[in-house]
């Protein structure tokens, strides 16, 4: 029997190959984050700097989280496409272990996120962002970002499991994306939100993750932000994975 490990690796390779050949995925992982970074930098940097913020430090973590959301969202498309094409069933009939297709999928999601992450960090550093907390925190910065993307991908995969078409899955996936991103500490300081909204904005996973990434880049307290972000992302990932297992298991 193909070991579950070998099967997962092969299906991971396949997922990466599919993303690589899909112009929409390349656009989403590379071009969009660059575009967002450039636009926000041009439009808001002077305004924010004038108010005493260090925008070139604040913006990259936001764009990282945005890119991680984007990378994860594609999972809805790929899961739906595999399910509707019937290839999911074919994989399930192969002696590769039940978990291999899901692990392969996750590897593909992570690879997409990693490419996007490298692009954003690269352009951020080029624009003047510094890891002031010390370079030793970069691995944790990467880990928090990728775990966040994995949690998003697992959640979006659930949409893919039930959507009527890959396109419908993507449409559904964009619904939580904008409010989660805009109602966060990403683009505007939390104090600027209405009082009743502030606690939600302050504690929702996107804010928590952005705050942790900012801290790891030298802007904030690592010990009070990173554990919260890890708890959120790991918790959501486990929850979404468990629901996915139940949904798939319930269909048998």
């Amino acid at each position: 029997m193909t070991s579950a490990f070998a099967g997962s690796a092969l299906l991971g390779q396949r997922a990466i190959e599919r993303s690589r050949r899909n112009p929409a995925s390349v656009l989403g992982a590379v071009v969009f984050p660059l575009l967002f970074f450039a636009l926000f930098n041009v439009v808001l940097r002077r305004v924010m700097d004038a108010q005493g913020f260090d925008y070139v430090q604040l913006l990259p973590p936001t764009i990282v989280v945005q890119a991680m959301l984007f990378a994860g969202m594609s999972s809805a498309y790929y899961v739906a496409d595999d399910r509707l094409s019937g290839i999911t069933e074919r994989f399930a009939s192969l002696p590769i272990g039940r978990a291999a297709p899901a692990i392969g999928r996750a590897l593909g999601d992570l690879a997409r996120a990693a490419v996007s992450l490298v692009v954003v960090i690269g352009v951020g550093v080029a624009a003047g962002m510094r890891f002031d907390a010390g370079l030793v925190w970069i691995p944790l910065f990467v880990l928090v970002a990728l775990l966040f993307s994995l949690a998003v991908a697992l959640g979006m995969g659930l949409l893919g499991l039930s959507a009527s078409s890959p396109e419908a899955a993507v449409s559904l996936a964009t619904i939580p994306y904008l409010p989660l991103l805009m109602l966060s500490s990403g683009f505007a300081p939390i104090e600027n939100f209405p009082d009743w909204l502030e606690p939600i904005v302050r504690n929702q996973p996107v804010t928590v993750t952005i705050d942790a990434l900012r801290a790891l880049a030298g802007d904030g307290d690592i010990s009070s932000t990173v554990p919260v972000a890890l708890a959120w992302t790991v918790g959501l990932a486990v929850l979404f994975a468990a629901v996915g297992v139940r949904v798939i298991g319930g269909r048998r």
Partner: protein
């Protein structure tokens, strides 16, 4: 692994029940397939054919009953079952983005072939299925017939003793269908155990040594194609009077020639073909009664009629 190394293995299905909510897709299905036998699961949409295949392929867990494939229980030992089977599903389940060659390499690698063996096997199968020229193109550019051939090839990269073909020719043009039939015949002659589902009597007739007829989750008949055809009454004579109001008159006139079936929607009367003189006899009687005939024909029974007769008989 050369093709002829795989030898067929048997299948036992005993009282298998599979429910989806309140609906029993399989309601106590029992049938057996001998090693090396080609069996057709025949039935209309919703009869439970695909559900039966999915239970045998370990994709669905039966709610009751026993199913063994190649001696392994599908519930207790699904991995052993998966090692023994290949599934070609209803929708040519391939990766559209990858090329034909890459698809075959992927499925070979997933079944433990080394990279070089998988590549060699992929090239060989593309050649055998007349896809060599298209091997480097993404599957999304393939025609329906090419996809089905590649789909079947993907199931043969590493030959397994049991092959499931779920409606392998649905949606194909007659030429592609004939090509695929040729391939399945080769496999049959190679000694594989094949279970194929189909809604087409003709397809089951062409390929299967034995047919299991499913209807609404139960086995309603079982036998060789010839046995079933004789039970279904062979050819039928269909008469359509110009005035559909006179169907009952037609039925009364022909009653002594055989059991007359009426289809009021279509406005036809059908009776079993009893010999070469039947057609002229029917026309003579209707002519004498002054009933004008819009259409009269001799034809093989449709699957619907086979079903009606089989379910009435059981």
């Amino acid at each position: 692994m050369p093709t002829n190394e795989a030898r067929g293995a048997g299948i036992e299905v005993e009282g298998v029940v599979k429910r989806f909510g309140d609906h029993a897709a399989l309601d106590g299905v029992t049938f057996h397939v001998e090693a090396g036998e080609v069996v057709g699961l025949l039935g209309p949409n919703g009869a439970g054919k695909t559900t039966a295949v999915n239970v045998l392929a370990t994709l669905l867990r039966p709610d009751a009953g026993i199913a063994r494939v190649a001696g392994y229980d599908v519930v207790a030992d699904p991995d052993a079952v998966r090692r023994s089977i290949s599934l070609t599903g209803q929708f040519a389940s391939l990766d559209d983005v990858l090329t034909g060659f890459e698809n075959l390499v992927l499925f070979g690698r997933l079944r433990e072939l080394s990279r070089s063996d998988a590549r060699a096997k992929a090239g060989e199968l593309l050649e055998r299925f007349s896809l060599a020229d298209a091997g480097d193109r993404p599957v999304s550019t393939y025609s329906g017939g090419m996809r089905r051939r590649l789909d079947l090839a993907a199931s043969l990269v590493v030959p397994t003793p049991v092959l499931f073909l779920d409606e392998p020719t649905t949606g194909l043009d007659p030429r592609s269908r004939a090509e695929l039939w040729g391939v399945v015949r080769e496999l049959r002659d190679g000694g594989l155990t094949v279970v194929l589902t189909t809604q087409y009597l003709e397809e089951a007739d062409q390929l299967a040594e034995r047919i299991v007829v499913l209807d609404r989750g139960s086995v309603v008949a079982e036998g060789t194609p010839n046995e079933l055809k004789s039970r279904a009454g062979g050819q039928a004579c269909v008469v359509a009077p110009v005035d559909a109001q006179r169907l009952d008159e037609v039925a009364a006139l022909l009653a002594d020639l055989g059991e007359v079936g009426l289809d009021r929607e279509l406005g036809t009367a059908t009776l079993p073909d009893t010999g070469p003189a039947l057609l002229t006899e029917v026309l003579r009687r209707l002519g004498e009664a002054g009933i004008e005939v819009a259409d009269i024909s001799l034809r093989r029974p449709t699957l619907d009629e086979v079903f009606l007769q089989l379910t009435e008989a059981s």
